[in-house]
Symmetry: C2
């Protein structure tokens, strides 16, 4: 793989859930995903074997793990080990979040490439 | 490893180079590092086997690869495959950058823990 440089907020977006879109950058063993939550959008509870890290850039994103809602403001960051069930919601202002997955979410790569 | 939630810009910082500090969050297979460049700071040319991804949050960070300077503004993101030599510099306003490494930089983990 060659080095890549891209304007992440100009990458073609794909839908992650109703009112939640992602703009991805795929490396070999990890990926970035710039997530935009429309106001009051929700990501239903799910899990994946991939480790997920991230940081809130704008607004508020809540991550719900084990029934506890962690309401995260800008510069609040997280690690969700693979296999941990989680859901997410934002507030009335929406949110902008940078997610990181390792390894690459092949399901995202396939969907993103299929929509091109 | 348990889920982690932390205010990344309040994490204890460690020095990466003169005028360049990092605030890390360590997962199992990847890590975040919030990098602050003081005005006109430079990271000398180096390489590491870890894949590096990142995004500029504030200011301008230039990454120099193969003699080409990629001057990156907010929301510009990158992937540097493992083993690719690179250096970095910022402008007179400094910069704030989020770096991601996979696997975890054990050298950073050891230094960060040693300074506690």
């Amino acid at each position: 793989m060659e080095p890549q440089f891209t304007r992440l907020d100009a990458v073609r977006a794909f839908e992650l859930a109703a009112g939640v879109s992602g703009q991805p950058l795929f490396g070999e063993n990890a990926m970035l995903n710039l997530i935009r939550f429309q106001p009051d959008a929700v990501v239903p509870r799910h899990s994946h074997p991939h480790e997920q890290l991230g940081i809130v850039l704008e607004g508020m994103q809540a991550l719900v793990v084990d029934g506890v809602a962690h309401e995260l403001e800008p510069f609040e960051a997280y690690v969700l080990p693979g296999g941990v069930e989680h859901s997410a919601y934002c507030g009335p202002e929406g949110a902008l979040v940078l997610d990181v997955f390792t390894p690459v979410r092949e399901d995202y790569l396939e969907r993103w490439q299929a929509e091109s």
